[in-house]
């Protein structure tokens, strides 16, 4: 029986197709991205080796750092919004009627394509015929904003649909985790006279802290590589006000044909994502040790 289940030919036959796919389409491109970053290359013609010049330019490139800052702002907002989702999940998971239907309603935006969401919210933000300004006018706001066309608020305007899109996803995760908290623990606390608020803060939250850490990582890394919605809604504009790392990379490579420099940005994006993954793991872990 051991022979059948350790047949090397079968193991290779079963794993190699998938392994080759991720090697060729994920791992090799990652290495190539760092390599292309060393080249002066327009994507069509000959590559010229220029050493670290692209990376030096990148470090001095203010536009890159402002894009990076925008990505980090999105990461901060996404992480903070996790608290709102957590609060809603706590309410939702406390034996409320219709919680199943509600969390499914919350999830619907998550199922839509970024293109559909972007196009829909561009209409919502339409300065004259959109829903947002009509609502603001209803509440007596006189100088309604021009949203995506205003460099001062374009980036923050985009955060709204991003947070709208992901709310249901995180609520779903928290809800599932909260439902896994054993009933006996909560009953015991109730007998000891704990209030619902105390039960939520002192018993439920610590028990799902592991899941909370995972969601922080998902939110941070997801934000740092965020692209689709911004690309469709503003293309990074007006005047770079909503440019993020991935959209800057895309613009350099596929609009301006700077494939070498674009690759360097892409490699920078990878490094920043991996460092932040590691850092988030490390930070949330040390909190655990204190407990």
């Amino acid at each position: 029986m051991k022979n059948v289940m350790s047949n090397k030919f079968v193991i290779a036959l079963y794993t190699l197709p998938a392994l080759l796919l991720i090697l060729v389409l994920i791992y090799i491109p990652i290495v190539l991205s760092g390599y292309y970053g060393l080249m002066d290359w327009d994507g069509i013609g000959q590559m010229t080796f220029i050493g670290l010049e692209n990376y030096v330019t990148l470090i001095k490139d203010n536009y890159f750092w402002s894009s990076t800052w925008h990505s980090f702002l999105l990461a901060i907002f996404s992480t903070l919004s996790l608290l709102l989702y957590l609060a809603i999940s706590l309410v939702l998971a406390s034996k409320i009627k219709g919680s199943d239907l509600l969390r499914k309603i919350y999830l619907i935006p998550m199922l839509l394509s970024s293109v559909a969401i972007a196009q829909l919210w561009m209409k919502i933000f339409d300065p004259t015929n959109g829903m947002a300004n009509t609502l603001l006018a209803f509440f007596g706001v006189e100088n309604t904003p021009i949203w995506l066309a205003d460099p001062a608020i374009a980036l923050y305007a985009i955060f709204i649909p991003v947070i709208w899109q992901y709310a249901g996803f995180y609520i779903l995760i928290y809800y599932a985790a909260l439902k896994n908290v054993p009933d006996e623990v909560i009953e015991a606390a109730k007998i000891d006279g704990a209030s619902p608020l105390q039960i939520a803060l002192k018993i439920k939250l610590p028990l799902i802290s592991g899941v909370f850490k995972v969601t922080i990582m998902l939110a941070v890394v997801g934000s740092l590589k965020y692209f689709d919605l911004i690309y469709v809604m503003t293309g990074g504009g007006p005047n770079g006000a909503s440019e993020v790392m991935a959209s800057y990379m895309y613009k350099e490579a596929f609009k301006l044909n700077n494939f070498g420099y674009g690759s360097a940005i892409g490699f920078g994006l990878l490094v920043i994502c991996l460092v932040m993954t590691w850092l988030t793991m490390k930070l949330t872990k040390s909190k655990d040790d204190v407990q």
Partner: protein, 297 residues
């Protein structure tokens, strides 16, 4: 909240203190429902609004309140969107590209998960690690090299580049979800089949695959949603209209008809209907897949 129910269960003992408390609890309860309800409206109303303006004329859109209901539903907007903007073709491309990628991903991931959890070999830990690490790599960092690789082998503007990319990038998550299921599933049935002298391929195809159908359908629906909604790969690798999928197709279409809100709305509604239908019938599977994918990560 459950205090409320306990007190309702024993209505014969209405201590005055307790009834005051239960009254307060009811207010609190109502308040919580209000918050949950408002949140539900925020999540769903933009889509209702989208359906409304997809049924409006331009006069209604530009001349009346955005909150007004469509006066005379313009179903013609949908016919216009479907016929004038290649939407039918994009829709067809989305269907077959999504379908083919889902089948490839689920079958390849099943092979790998079977080998990882049922077979004995030294490098299994390393291979598993490679799939898990691949999950963390941002696809945007790979897009320029991928473009160049596909270009060199003549697969740019060829749907094969899309199917291969979808399969590769969805394999890690699919394997993670499958692993959770395979690990909790008893090996005894497969071991018995080995004793009976079944070949390994028969075991995989006739014993394991049928047993894992519940989780296969979960991963299939999650893959379907991701592929249906995918934008960057198609936008980068495909230039001919005849191969574009809905996301890229409608984005271009909408760009050309900026002021025709009715047609834009209709196009967007057409693109999200398949997903909403899937959700209507398979919401439990979708919820399960989305939770499994993240919590196990």
């Amino acid at each position: 909240m459950s205090e409320v129910t306990t007190q309702h269960a024993t209505p014969n003992l209405p201590a005055p203190k307790a009834s005051k408390k239960s009254y307060l609890n009811k207010i609190g309860f109502g308040f919580l429902y209000l918050i949950l309800g408002v949140f539900a409206i925020i999540q769903i109303y933009p889509l209702v609004w989208l359906v409304f303006f997809s049924l409006k004329t331009n006069q209604e859109v530009f001349g009346m309140s955005p909150f007004a209901l469509p006066q005379d539903p313009q179903w013609g907007n949908f016919t216009k969107a479907w016929t004038s903007g290649n939407i039918g073709l994009y829709f067809f491309n989305s269907v077959w590209i999504t379908g083919l990628s889902v089948i490839l991903t689920v079958i390849l991931a099943s092979f790998v998960t079977f080998a990882l959890t049922r077979m004995h070999w030294k490098l299994s830990g390393l291979v598993l690690g490679m799939f898990l690490v691949a999950y963390m790599i941002p696809l945007h960092s790979t897009i320029i090299p991928l473009f160049n690789m596909f270009n060199n082998v003549g697969l740019i503007d060829n749907p094969a580049s899309i199917v291969l990319s979808y399969t590769a990038f969805n394999l890690p998550l699919t394997i993670m979800i499958l692993l959770g299921f395979y690990k909790t599933f008893p090996r005894e049935i497969e071991e018995a089949a080995v004793m009976d002298g079944c070949s390994i391929h028969r075991i995989f195809f006739q014993v394991t695959l049928p047993m894992t159908i519940p989780v296969l359908s979960t991963t299939a629906i999650i893959n379907m949603i991701y592929n249906w909604n995918e934008f960057v790969f198609v936008n980068t690798f495909i230039s001919s209209d005849k191969f574009k999928t809905l996301t890229v197709g409608i984005n271009n279409f909408v760009g050309q008809y900026l002021t025709d809100w009715g047609a834009i709305g209709a196009t967007l509604v057409i693109s999200i209907i398949p997903i909403l239908l899937a959700f209507l019938f398979l919401s439990d599977k979708i919820v399960e897949g989305m939770t499994a994918g993240s919590v196990k990560g």
